[in-house]
Point group: D2
Chain length 389, copies 4
Amino acid sequence: MSLLTSDIPRKRRFRAGMVGGGRGAFFAGIHRAALRLANRFDLVAGAFSSDPQTCLEAGEALGISAQRNYLNFRDMASAEAARDDPIDVAIVVTPNHLHFEPCKLFLEAGIPVICDKPLVNSSDEARELQRLAEANDTFFAVTYTYTGYPMVRDARARIRAGEIGQIRFMYVEYLLEWLAGDSSKLGKGAVWRGDPSKAGPTGALGDVGTHAFNILEFLSGQRCTALSATLMQTVASFGLDDTDVVQMEFDGGANGLLWAALAAPGHRNGLRFKIVGTKATIEWQQEAPETLHVSRLGEADLIYRRGQRDLTAEAAISVSLPAGNPEAYLEALAVLYCDYATALEGGRNWREALSVPLADLNEGLRGVLLSEVSVRSSSLRSWVPFPVS
Amino acid sequence: MSLLTSDIPRKRRFRAGMVGGGRGAFFAGIHRAALRLANRFDLVAGAFSSDPQTCLEAGEALGISAQRNYLNFRDMASAEAARDDPIDVAIVVTPNHLHFEPCKLFLEAGIPVICDKPLVNSSDEARELQRLAEANDTFFAVTYTYTGYPMVRDARARIRAGEIGQIRFMYVEYLLEWLAGDSSKLGKGAVWRGDPSKAGPTGALGDVGTHAFNILEFLSGQRCTALSATLMQTVASFGLDDTDVVQMEFDGGANGLLWAALAAPGHRNGLRFKIVGTKATIEWQQEAPETLHVSRLGEADLIYRRGQRDLTAEAAISVSLPAGNPEAYLEALAVLYCDYATALEGGRNWREALSVPLADLNEGLRGVLLSEVSVRSSSLRSWVPFPVS
Amino acid sequence: MSLLTSDIPRKRRFRAGMVGGGRGAFFAGIHRAALRLANRFDLVAGAFSSDPQTCLEAGEALGISAQRNYLNFRDMASAEAARDDPIDVAIVVTPNHLHFEPCKLFLEAGIPVICDKPLVNSSDEARELQRLAEANDTFFAVTYTYTGYPMVRDARARIRAGEIGQIRFMYVEYLLEWLAGDSSKLGKGAVWRGDPSKAGPTGALGDVGTHAFNILEFLSGQRCTALSATLMQTVASFGLDDTDVVQMEFDGGANGLLWAALAAPGHRNGLRFKIVGTKATIEWQQEAPETLHVSRLGEADLIYRRGQRDLTAEAAISVSLPAGNPEAYLEALAVLYCDYATALEGGRNWREALSVPLADLNEGLRGVLLSEVSVRSSSLRSWVPFPVS
Amino acid sequence: MSLLTSDIPRKRRFRAGMVGGGRGAFFAGIHRAALRLANRFDLVAGAFSSDPQTCLEAGEALGISAQRNYLNFRDMASAEAARDDPIDVAIVVTPNHLHFEPCKLFLEAGIPVICDKPLVNSSDEARELQRLAEANDTFFAVTYTYTGYPMVRDARARIRAGEIGQIRFMYVEYLLEWLAGDSSKLGKGAVWRGDPSKAGPTGALGDVGTHAFNILEFLSGQRCTALSATLMQTVASFGLDDTDVVQMEFDGGANGLLWAALAAPGHRNGLRFKIVGTKATIEWQQEAPETLHVSRLGEADLIYRRGQRDLTAEAAISVSLPAGNPEAYLEALAVLYCDYATALEGGRNWREALSVPLADLNEGLRGVLLSEVSVRSSSLRSWVPFPVS
């Protein structure tokens, strides 16, 4: 689904509402930019802040009509549900601890939801959302952004096609530096991310480890069955783990290793993976997302590149620009929004609409379980089974 | 001007019309995606094709009202000029030989213009547009996309600040592979690009050499005063030069070298430069646009990165995402559209609105002169002065 | 100690003897090439094989006089000890299980020893060698080759000087592919490496993990105090672990992670480390050994390069060629041999002769302990203390 | 010819003498290190300096017997020619203007010669050496070091095998920084390199441009037939050109471009080439010599690596260490010395002994012609034919 071919001919458009995202809400601005790029959604409603003034300003700036510029998501859910032209989907971009309630209300109102990760802060909450969504086959997506990169999809397709043989070992690291700086200068986002009552049971693991874990399961099609985690806190002023190591066993026989950190200087958004197979190894890194590196036993390495003719079909359909005109982060998120539009076209059969798996409530639940199980493993200093979900 | 901060608070928006860009017009789709990202323009009018059916379909798909969905740019120019709410700017994305006439008509109607490069196919035409624009101080921009990349702006600012010392030598290469393939399978774009009556006097030089030349002048602030060009045709089926070498002398004392090619396998959009100064060398490549490489005499190399705190001010204002969440081609073009919006806010004083120089008709003219002078130099096999413009 | 400045003026030379290293003994050839490069040793004696014919051929080819071309290392130790001009040092390059006995005999004869890693196959043996060596202050070196690379030494010096702040976390990976191929085609070296009676208690850990472990202690100056290891066997035909993960705690407060594998396609000799400090992160990889990457919080990355003027003193003295004329593996090993010569010049005070720590019997013992402790940890699936040595 | 397999079984050894190379002669030390690595030559004679004391010291340090430690090369040539066991080859490593006379004397004495590049300072001298050598089929090699790199040989073999199709364009750059520093601190080597009476007619072109030119002819098997050169002097204190651009036409239909500079900060020994064919482009750079990058039309790039099983035969025979244990500059020069030994084994038929072309007097002459013809072209500012040689 190219971002460029979506304007002529005109594709079906969807009405979107946003929860969170007033002035200063950084990631909400990213979501709106991706929405504009994807060009399949019109933002027509919102509850942009818990602060009324921020709400009003945001809605006005974003061209939301006054009557759909809600002061809170509860009003929004009930009012939208009552309209003839309700929003087709609610986009939840609040801090972690404010995911559960709006998601629940929209699901109860039968309105599809797109929610930031980590889904919620406990597996009980996640399972409750699952029950609500399954009751009506309501569309629900969790924005694991990195699965929108064409070359991540290309990696997945190549692995499934056997290009690297059988998977032996999976390594993923996700390192950030933002927590390494002067702690007195950290912004609001840093503060709630270190507060267990808001961020959930883990710090680095919930913030970025979930992405890393999700990408291993996405790539391999294997599910984690047990893990051994070491959660470490190296930054005293932060209330949660900032450096984590998780070893994993997967149902397909692979073993895995995950390293996540929030205070690693020189790492801006350092997600990278290396999947070792019996025939080849496949590597990708988020900061150079246009290429996929396949290194083979005794032979020349291959550098696959987004937009070239030897891409797998799963990757090719997610490409917009030709190779050489680089795509990047916003385009990856826009690819997800294109997927969401395609899925929403399917109505109750939204699960059948896509050839690439969409991160749904089950993936969201697994991300929450990663935190819960890792906390237990780390305190026991031993391996713990990972629940079937 | 961040693409993300432009939605809250709401910035002034401009009405845009597009000439060219019906179904299949690839670069027009790119311009529209960048327009959506920039979020400062509403596309309200257009003459999208010389084919009426294509026109109608495109306008409808793009949500243009029927009365502003014109069948040709002549009607568009006169009708828009007569409206109370005319377009604030016309965006011309037709093939090269169809730039001059619409640009002229819009300028005559007092309507600002944004035009793809190369500006036109002769310096006489370019100078005529200059006269028209100067008469009314009408805004006119030529889309040298690569000057929108923050790290190109960072390079320029560092060079101006003396970080590399005095410039000794400037090297730029711009290599593409599209003409290297099976010539029977080339698309429409390839065909007109090899036809002198449409593409203008040169092939590789007009198509990509102009970008490369522009970027050297943009970076250095120096103007070419003489050149020695060798235009080569290595692809028999193409009607123009496909491989060019141009040596240049600049008014600031630097010498330069440009290599452009359209049939270089393995080069997707291979623009890269290396500016050698007395203290350091600065390098950048379009396919890895997030970093700037500064290598110093006897000391550690520096890798500057978009979004970090040690960026120059000129670069920093063009940044949207934090370092690590990569930006790329569409974002660079959107930066230009943000600049255009800022300039248009300035009305007749648009030239004073920006801290980074905007590619105007003079830059467009110089691109056309590059082709004309190089043809002469290549046929004489000698150096030829470059006109002052 | 430059390899190039050692010939004029002439430095003191040492008589060396070699145990192992007949035809087909690959690493012995590497040692001899490094000896020639270092230009401080004359190979005058040897017991090159357990096979008499191979012994004779090798000694003759290597220009060893017939009387010092011994048929076994026992004869060699006693005969050399009895000479007026005995060898100054014995170089032991036999398979792992044949390290202990020759080392013991030479130490008993008061002859210094240079031995390949892993030192021996049990900590009891290692401690017995320690006792023998300490009795006479006899020089004993274990060839941890990678500590000979100038940029590894540069990393160590920068870490000690506080350039990256306090160490938060240390990651090292060492991946090879040789075991991933057709197992029926594996050579002699592969066979004994998978045989516990010869290779010792571990496979990947003993073969390459010891290098990785040693380099972390070398870089940080911190000592491992506890570890949690997972030893995995993914290649059925190999009799030992081929894929290992070890988590570590260090006495200086750092945590560490080590991943070693012998069957990772596309990894030829993939040793790389990443040391995360509070101020910066430092990275190096063996296959691109000429540069050291220091990435800092929010600022430009630094790429240090061997041979430039901003190198640390510890690194600079180990450099031979100017930056740009690359050095590599043989030069790194030759740097170690230059160190050995310098140390041997010191006689009983050999420990004081060098500014960079030399891997001695204690480092050798720690490598053996790594295997022993990891086997225990892996079978218990829990953390185990690492003995003080 | 592996550097490692040359010791068992023992290969035939040759007696070498050296002209130049006393204390402080940097490149002579490099040659001696490469000689030790190659392990086929014994240095038994020398005239190491024009200064008697330096001569004596050097010879003594290098273990030369007093009677073969000559005070000048004239004595050396006559005395060696008169011996029963004369040197098999003379290695000339003096400054450029002192190449001709010793080469001439050794050739007249029937003694093979290995000479540094550039061969001599005029084509008349080069042709005189040619006549002398041809008279007796005497072996004569010019040390174009970079042709000893296995991956340069791999590139040549792949080009010959048609892997990149027909050559369209060849680009080579060779940039150094040494002249960019404080001119008052430049060493002896810098001073004579800027003195036309010693360095020859050009600066950057003679010093490094000859290497770059040679490598294009080596890779392509095509011969330059015409060139257009621009020789520039940007460093006032240097007496010759320091920045050069040369455009070339070749007899096989390819065009070429060469950029050489001595004052480009951040470039230590920056030789790199890019050969554009109709099917693929092949790239290599001296500072990362272990890989060859082949980028293909629309398909994954290939990264070939020294030591892997898919190497061409020409490259494979020049490999010593396995992939992953990197080789570098000294190994490349040692590969040339291995070639010289193989060639010398052939006696008068030395030209038939090698599968990779050896740079002989004709290549040396062409390097000298490059300077002479470029000076003419640059002063005429036009194209000039390149003589057939």
